[in-house]
Symmetry: C2
């Protein structure tokens, strides 16, 4: 079923059929209706590659994530999916496996197959991201690069809240459990934590970097115990849950001896034991907003917001509590 079949069927030229289908204003009403009826009847579906080739538009957006199996991305993928679907776009999900090299390679391959890219938690250096912007509309998520549109979840602000929370509970020595070193969010959170601690005249310490997975949590927990701290804030919930697990194994009471705070409020954070105090991130919204910003650019409404910051808030559960008496 091609445009030509419809042309033959209706007696119009292929070009007219094309226009009737993709820019209805351009043809006469009765012509359009006849063609559309025929298209429906013949069960016509436009050929995506062909359209892409001639028009340069693919109606597809790539979403790059560092690890599909990280629950943090579920909401993002879903949010993006919704918004894209509504706009008639398809989503191409790409897993960069936390590797900058792979990310670069994949980006260059998808370049001409998509109309835009959403870079979620890119591991690329800033200049590389800016480079891509020259060839393709880009919106980053949880990542800032000069001149590149972005939506970031304001975890720095959340980290402040977390620090206040812990200090109010009497904690004096709080450790930051760092995530992957090439993660922008990781640095942002660490900076925020240092500032927040400094405001109370306290120094923050840091351990890591650790991979953003539950497994890394074991190592992190052990390192954490060595510091003698009474509380920690982990780069993300995956690590935090891993820590919880390991502390449980070692018989360390949470929050009795150590308080643990995570980031992101992923699936599972509410039912692990003890349930995790964490920074709730509006991830699904982030996905939606990122897509809408991306598509806006396509429509040349460039005057709009370039950098959106989404608020977080601390969700207190049972993994944090009063600091132990010494």
């Amino acid at each position: 079923m091609t445009i030509n079949d419809i042309a033959a069927r209706t007696g119009f030229a292929a070009s007219t059929v094309s226009r009737a289908l993709s820019r209805p204003g351009r043809v006469n009403r009765v012509t359009r209706e006849r063609i559309q009826a025929a298209a429906r009847e013949l069960n016509y579906v436009p050929n995506v590659p062909a359209r892409a080739l001639s028009s340069g538009r693919t109606a597809t957006v790539a979403v790059l994530v560092s690890d599909v199996t990280n629950p943090f991305y579920f909401g993002l993928i879903r949010g993006a999916q919704h918004e894209l679907r509504a706009a008639g776009y398809a989503q191409m999900l790409v897993d960069t496996e936390d590797s900058p090299e792979l990310e670069t390679r994949l980006l260059s391959t998808v370049r001409q197959s998509v109309d835009g890219v959403i870079l979620a938690a890119s591991r690329l250096p800033g200049r590389a991201i800016i480079g891509i912007t020259a060839e393709l509309p880009v919106v980053t998520v949880n990542r800032n690069a000069p001149g590149v549109r972005s939506v970031v979840i304001d975890s720095p602000d959340g980290v402040m809240q977390a620090v206040e929370h812990l200090i109010s509970l009497g904690h004096r020595q709080v450790v930051y459990v760092a995530g992957p070193s090439c993660s922008w969010a990781n640095e942002a959170r660490w900076r925020a934590m240092r500032t927040a601690m400094a405001k109370h005249g306290l120094a923050a310490t840091r351990i890591g970097p650790f991979g953003a997975s539950r497994r890394s949590g074991s190592a992190a927990a052990d390192a954490l115990l060595n510091t003698g701290a009474t509380a920690c804030i982990a780069f993300n919930d995956l690590i935090a849950i891993g820590i919880l697990r390991r502390l449980g194994e070692r018989g360390v009471d949470v929050p009795g001896e150590i308080s643990v705070v995570g980031c992101d409020d992923i699936f599972g954070a509410d039912f692990c034991s003890p349930p995790l105090t964490t920074l709730a991130a509006p991830v699904e919204q982030a996905g939606r907003v990122a897509v809408s910003m991306l598509l806006e650019q396509n429509l040349a409404v460039r005057a709009s917001r370039r950098n959106v910051i989404l608020p977080t808030h601390l969700t207190v559960r049972q993994s944090s509590g009063r600091a132990p008496r010494r």
Copy 2:
């Protein structure tokens, strides 16, 4: 950077360049090397839509899942991703939102943009699936349709194990908590459970259907309590975790008063409280196998395995225990 630029640069015809790049055996060694060098130098990346249009092959495979946010799919997506990447294919992830209509619509749209489809947990009636097979290579996951290649995780066998497990612990009344009614796996599990119970002269009861989400778990838990059963097997871990949660809220002791068994061993099943006894499914492997079967067909090695069954095994954790004395 197109094939023509390389042609101009090297002095060969575009057709030769094309061949040097995509079927190296067809051109002379020195020619090939010169062209490949030029391609590398000019940073040439083949245009996917163009290639798709002329050759009909897109080097892309669609993976349809009923809900991206269901952790069950992580492993599957990952496994598929790996295998596809290795074969030089891209993955197009499609969320059908548990709706047969949407599934149909999306299928018809992606039809000509992909070389094959992996239908994970399709909600489509069997005949519809067979219909698609006529137009496109298809491999189903956890779903059987006559003549369609499939990889299914042998949860029926697992369900048997689970039933034996519960019966050995003294349970006599075991309830099946049903999932979505158009899910094939759901029916398969229920059948298996009935047979297994019958083998011990016991009748199985069933409640539901419930949606495959944690939220449905609350309703399921309440319904479960009404049955007076001492144990249940839930369609999947999502529901099981929801049940656990609700039972906790209502002060029902698990496994003291009720034992709960899930299916799939998803992310979180090991750290919820109590940790969930469940049927571990080799999901990642399923993804890999499904892809390799799909690509095999493309290569016309049709003689191979058409229906692969992957084994499950019961992972006993703390949500199941001795039946209470009555």
